[in-house]
Symmetry: C2
Subunit: 356 residues, 2 copies
Amino acid sequence: MRSYLDDFTRREWQHESPAGTVRLAVVGLGEFARDQALPGIEDSEFCNTTTLVTGSSDKGKRIADKRDIDHVLSYDAFHDGEAADDYDAVYVATPTGQHLQYVETAAELGKDVITEKPMEKSVERAERLREVCEAAEITLMVAYRPRMEPVFQRARELVHDDGVVGEVTEIHAQFAFDVLDIGGPDQWRIDRDLAGGGALMDAGVYTATIARFFADSNPASVQGETVAEHEAFDEDVEERAAYTVQFENGVTASCSTSFNSARNDWVEIIGTEGTLRIEPAFWFNVDRDLSIERDDWEATVTGPSVDEVREEFDHFGYAVLTDTDPEPNAAVGIGDLKLLEGVYESANTGERVQFN
Amino acid sequence: MRSYLDDFTRREWQHESPAGTVRLAVVGLGEFARDQALPGIEDSEFCNTTTLVTGSSDKGKRIADKRDIDHVLSYDAFHDGEAADDYDAVYVATPTGQHLQYVETAAELGKDVITEKPMEKSVERAERLREVCEAAEITLMVAYRPRMEPVFQRARELVHDDGVVGEVTEIHAQFAFDVLDIGGPDQWRIDRDLAGGGALMDAGVYTATIARFFADSNPASVQGETVAEHEAFDEDVEERAAYTVQFENGVTASCSTSFNSARNDWVEIIGTEGTLRIEPAFWFNVDRDLSIERDDWEATVTGPSVDEVREEFDHFGYAVLTDTDPEPNAAVGIGDLKLLEGVYESANTGERVQFN
């Protein structure tokens, strides 16, 4: 155990120290991009921001001044390739259902891409997004913060390599918060056309990707429920969802997610020999407890808090600079979306959805 | 909050102090009956044991001597009404699928009944059990320990009366242990004919009853999965199960249960204003943490450990002595079995099972 805790924030994925940095165009300046991504990039070793792309030039200029960023482009100027010599890669932080169009332009310009989760608003569009990147032979990473967090990296080593819980049997994961309190009733996260759904797409995607991360197997089937009770939600944009995944190796995952609950985010991995829990799991910029309980001992480690956004951009920058594949790639992003679409299908039909 | 914590172990259900005790015949002397129920009854205020009913007269005599119990009967002698003047009520602690026959005899003899959970091995047999008791006009209680535990009593008051988590939105519950380590491969708990199933019937019934306890609503539908991987289990006797309940009031419950995991038992109630967690929840004779987390405060109370078996028998004895209805009654027991049968049906058909 000690070996997993010493040097807690080490990067198993980093095998060398490449020179240089990847210059980014940040597309979309919503709250997360402004308050989390731009500072994270600023602190990162392998990335920096040279270009902002936004529909609001005033906002763009204010942020560019504050952060000493060279260019502010409109979306049209970005599509026209303006200032393209001054960035190497594109971070797509627009509403989910608009990722594809910016990735298409990035690919045309030969720029590597890191795109927010979910990868797109449907499996179909995510697959087009992957094809566009493959055809252009550019790097594509999906921005899953938790997968880059040291707590999750250490937890996966403990579970997969060290067998700390024995054979994994069951997983529970939960991610809930009050979306209306954060962004009000007019935000894109509860606009089906922009987001592809409601709580399941925006928050549930974390539970899906982390269940897969710890199950270490492909989903065999899923059953799901969606709920819409508050007036801000309807059958197109679910307020909450709950679903059960059966993985090919027999692990089950019980997940739920809500846009109308107190903040509550955790994952628990249960096995033949013990239990591992991470809480909080999915919110950003918080200390996370990693707790392990076995018959004969229990331990809680509150890992050194790291900026997982910085880690994520460093992982992307490293992949680009070393020409290696980032870990949360298109296969991860599309796999998660297939699972989420399975939940919607099961919720609609009342039937278990089998994969393959 | 203070008012819920002072006098933590108070009994909201007890409004008077009836005189006398209910004399019990304990039917079945398995490990739980021997090591938990008999001492609990001995410590209880309103019950005492006068009669043991067992297939092993040697074992019965040894226990009767140790605990100063008057009669040891064979099952046949019990059915013949031997020594029936010396007990007032019957505690049925046999394998699940044998409850009905002993309740039938108890009813013929006019004795009140407390029967272990699940009530019987099928809804059909549980309904016959209820009818038998109703026709004989005897008290019937189902022995759900957690519902009688002060931690759960206080938690329900906090959730339902005090709104400590706001409106309940989601519930997660888990109960797992290693049944083979406890009782080996030949025990009745993994014999479908005796138990009606595997992990779901024996351990999952706790998650079902507690989800209903906190949802405070009837199940509208359920989706479920069963898993059998270890050689001791098969499709008739599931090793594990995971299921999602949608309640009529919109609450969802994500539950899982296992006969082949480390001991792991907890329940988490998530709402619009906060989260409440009880852990351990379902194992007996342990200290339980009741934790509440809200935006502005969090608290953990480790309630005074009580013998919930004693509480359960006192609740039953009180109901008999005062001629009132015990809280975990036939409606609770049959409701839980309907939910579990729904999980089996959904697991078999791959379809959501709707109730009514």
